[in-house]
Amino acid sequence: MANEKKEWPLWEVFIRAKNGLSHRHAGSVHAPDADIALRHARDTYTRRMEGVSIWVIRSSDIAASDPADAGPIFEPAESKVYRHPTFYVVPDHIKHI
């Protein structure tokens, strides 16, 4: 990739659709810097009133878990059913619990 240095870096775009909701990943844009990345994100991902707030983050700054380690990372939670309310039996005549 001879062009790597010249190419505008990639940014991940997160949009809050409306207040009260979290920012959600919308896609990516290329931009030379954060300010222009926000503008590119606005012009690309909020043309149809999709958002009230935008985050951008350099894609290369994201640390991600490795799917190859998904077993050790996520499966241990499967055996902890006691973290869920349905694990506990409460007689029918007991209300509001």
Partner: protein, 252 residues
């Protein structure tokens, strides 16, 4: 000129500026330096078409001769167009396009800011809606002036050359027409002389960041507001108006 004719002319000027610049920006569509930039320029063009539709629509109502925005846009010859010379200039390279956008949007932002207080309710409403768009355009253009001015040697030279093309057209933006006096007195129109200070301040701030030297303005070229345009407008209109002119009975 009656008061009504003066108001018609004033609304026409505002609408023609927006229309002609959107036409120019539309020429970029599909040809910009990056896909993202393409979407950006198109968004500005779309905002300006929207403004043109409102302003020319209002001009037609004021005139009261049954001409709507399309009639005014597509069935008027160059001498009847009232836009400033700045907006009809060919795009040139991206630097020149950004220079034009910076000058125009910075002026238009100051203008709309004042016009939101117009005693003409319709103009005030249109200005309030358009102001939000225009603030964005002016900031966007300033950001690019800074990046190109303070980028590479080549971009600095191109940004400089882009502005050099336009300095002679700046004075026109801040010059009132004789018929405006009554409109300004009635609080309908904005006195353009009042817009010069905020324009100069914004320009100085951006140019400092962009490492660009402040302009030495040459002898101004004016005439657009009176229908005396550059050679470019005729060609622009010939292209833009071709279909409705060639098929006057057709509805599209």
């Amino acid at each position: 000129m009656t008061a009504n004719e003066a108001l018609f002319d004033y609304a026409l000027r505002l609408g023609d500026d927006a229309l002609i610049l959107s036409q120019r920006l539309g020429e970029w569509c599909g040809h910009a330096p990056a896909i993202e930039t393409d979407l950006t320029l198109t968004n500005v063009a779309l905002d300006l078409i929207g403004q043109a539709m409102l302003l020319l629509g209002y001009a037609g109502e004021v005139e009261g001769k049954g001409r709507d925005a399309d009639k005014l846009a597509f069935h008027r010859d160059a001498t009847k167009y009232r836009n400033c010379l700045l907006v009809e200039q060919p795009n040139g390279d991206f630097g020149r396009t950004i220079a034009r956008q910076f000058i125009f949007s910075t002026y238009q932002r100051a203008l709309y800011q004042e016009l939101t207080r117009s005693s003409d309710r319709r103009l005030a409403e249109i200005a309030a809606k358009a102001l939000k768009e225009t603030i964005y355009h002016a900031d966007l253009a300033a950001e690019w002036v800074i990046r190109l001015g303070d980028g590479t040697e080549e971009s600095h030279e191109r940004m400089k050359a882009g502005f050099e093309w336009y300095w002679r057209f700046v004075e026109e933006l801040f010059t009132a027409e004789p018929a405006d006096a009554a409109l300004i007195g009635a609080g309908i129109a904005v006195d353009p002389a009042k817009l010069r200070a905020p324009f100069d301040a914004a320009l100085a701030a951006t140019f400092a960041e962009a490492t660009l030297a402040l302009p030495k303005y040459p002898r101004p070229i004016t005439g657009g507001r009176k229908g005396r345009h550059s050679e470019h407008l005729g060609h622009l209109l010939a292209e833009m108006q071709f279909l409705p002119r060639a098929y006057p009975d057709a509805v599209w």
